[in-house]
Symmetry: C2
Subunit: 387 residues, 2 copies
């Protein structure tokens, strides 16, 4: 049995001519994944995690990679998603630059990076690639699909297009479609990157890339990820150390909040490919579960064949506002899905699920316990019938 | 008496070596104003309007300029600020590019535009220039000072520095200081402008100016001026006419909301000088009534010698959030000022006062009626005493 367990860190090669939602195809493409935890003998305790726009597949530390992951507090031994009980797979989104094939990857047909010749990308493609990956890794059924932020969208796309893969879903600060406020923010971020002359219509290189454009776009992202209230408490009107009094007409950094944004955004600009950012950002704006299923969003949610769902939103989230999680919960409810909905009170806005592990963790644990016992009962029933 | 009434549209020249808050001086500077309505014989029915960052002094149409002003629905004959009852003066902020002296103006000492040699500007300077202007126009006392948005800040600075000028104040969607969320937004707007290579450290010309940087900065402004809810209703996921299906890898305009932002931002970029924008934006971020008065904000507000105040905020304002108008109202209250506070429920965010004239208008009219009758009683008292 041991040989059937995938490597903890690896890649799944997608089939040649992997067809994308908008009509393009990819050959020689792959997705990066990490997979760890305790896989039971019947291989039916598997959780798929679908991340947001920027994280890689390294969701948490494990035997093969001890460095902390992007959801370190949530996943691991004795953590809310307890890897003693569950086997966790996290797939880096197709189109990203963190291991999966994207605009920054080499096009095997030309030997050069795709850049803007990468075909038009959709959230549906991220879902299809992840679904293909888990099946290629030997899992026909997942105990649960968990999606956060953009991953909440990818999860819904996966449930719509691969209904046999799972019957349990956790959607955290996600949405069934992009609304105009977040559409406008992301559209502006893309324009800021494209307006940097070093973007050069995607033809930048490592030494000359639109770093400043990426820094500014990321700052706008960071502004939208937290709440004003949290910043009032954390920064107030504190001045930064680098504030130089008496200097005329310097519009430079002055407040701690500006320094914080600069520092965080610089880190992101160093590690995220601008073209990949443009593709993923555009894909989020295009996503609409209703259009995908040829109906209204409410009807589309009703038609998802989910037995149990946990939907969590945050009262101060301005990017994926609470009404969007209410929409998901209400839509799933009408289809007979057993839906648990929780509004988290937090000053941490869209980022709350990354920060306030305590507030989210026990809800997730309880839900996983519930589906775990449901599954066990199911198994017993089947055994009885087989007798 | 007629010769004592100022021209409806004009300029007030500031004294030479006009001293600025941060230590610089201006010579040969002026502010643009508009003044109209019915001035009574005792010249004591004068209202000063202090506008936000972008408007000019043309608040509403009048005999000398029939074009609609930026608060056309609010000011005029039979309007909430009724020019049959009141004489209204609106002063374009010092530092602006709409008539008052600012970075785009000629420096008489050099014959060239100031650009970044313009001295460091503060909200306090806008207040001082406006206070000087109304006195130079022949008014020692104002019935009321009305400030909206940035004008709400300028008004508070004026009340702090020129306590004898008025004892009545209307503060609409204003603030006593800038908070980190809006500091970050404005800081990012300035960086976007400065990151446009055509900004050239302020040395652009009319044919080559950082138009795209200004367009992007204005889009960010527009995003912060309205509420997500209003855009959900107005735009939803409507596609723009210019959406070209099937075109690969165009990150171009797609949704109506993007088209709207483009159109509005282009207009602004055509009419507002980038350096002036940088100076005014920086001045807003620096403003802190507490620092100005050498105390906490609450103590500073307590020390303002106001008899009557009307403070209005909007529940969906993310740029000057409601808590900031509550802060002003509470601070003024403790000093014995008779404070009326109103929270307006509106989906129009920070811009609501420009749009929902009905919701704001009657509150303003009632307040003006109140101070008008108080003044009349006062006058009678004085007359009796003089007898």
């Amino acid at each position: 049995v041991i040989e059937l367990i995938p490597k903890a860190t690896g890649f799944v090669r997608l089939p040649n001519k992997f067809r994308l939602h908008h009509g393009g195809t990819l050959s020689g493409a792959r997705v990066a994944y990490e997979a760890f935890g305790c896989l039971n003998a019947s291989r039916d305790n598997v959780i798929l995690l679908m991340p947001g726009l920027s994280p890689d597949a390294h969701v948490a530390s494990h035997d093969q990679d001890a460095s902390p992951g992007w959801w370190e507090g949530m996943v691991g031994l004795g953590k809310p998603i307890d890897t003693m009980l569950w086997y966790v797979i996290c797939v880096n989104p197709l189109g990203s630059c963190n291991g999966s094939t994207g605009p920054a990857s080499l096009n095997p047909a030309t030997g050069n990076a795709y850049r803007l010749s990468f075909p038009k990308l959709a959230i549906e493609d991220i879902a299809d690639a992840a679904a293909y990956a888990v099946q290629a890794l030997g899992f026909k059924q997942l105990s649960c699909v968990v999606g956060c932020s953009m991953g909440g969208m990818s999860s819904l796309a996966l449930l719509a297009r691969h209904p046999d893969l799972t019957s349990n879903h956790i959607n955290i600060s996600g949405a069934a479609l992009a609304l105009p406020f977040s559409i406008a923010l992301r559209s502006l971020q893309r324009e800021i990157v494209q307006n940097d002359p070093l973007w050069s219509f995607g033809q930048y290189d490592q030494d000359n890339f639109p770093k400043q454009g990426m820094v500014l776009a990321r700052k706008l992202g960071l502004i939208s990820y937290r709440s004003a209230r949290e910043w009032d408490k954390r920064f107030g009107r504190m001045l930064s150390d680098s504030y130089r009094t008496g200097e005329e007409n310097s519009f430079d950094l002055h407040f701690t909040v500006e320094e914080y944004l600069e520092c965080q955004a610089q880190k992101f600009a160093q590690r995220f490919d601008p073209n990949c950012f443009l593709y993923l950002s555009y894909a989020i704006n295009q996503f609409d579960l209703g259009v995908l299923m040829g109906s209204t969003v409410q009807e589309a949610l009703q038609r998802l064949q989910i037995e149990n769902a946990l939907v969590i939103g945050v009262n101060t989230d301005i990017l994926f506002p609470l009404q969007q999680q209410v929409e998901i919960a209400e839509g799933l409810c009408t289809s007979g899905t057993l839906v648990e909905f929780h509004e988290i009170e937090s000053d941490n806005g869209h980022d709350a699920f990354l920060i306030e592990i305590n507030k989210f963790g026990h809800l997730i644990t309880n839900f996983l316990n519930k589906i775990s016992s449901v599954n066990s009962v199911d198994t017993v029933h089947r055994l009885e019938l087989e007798d």
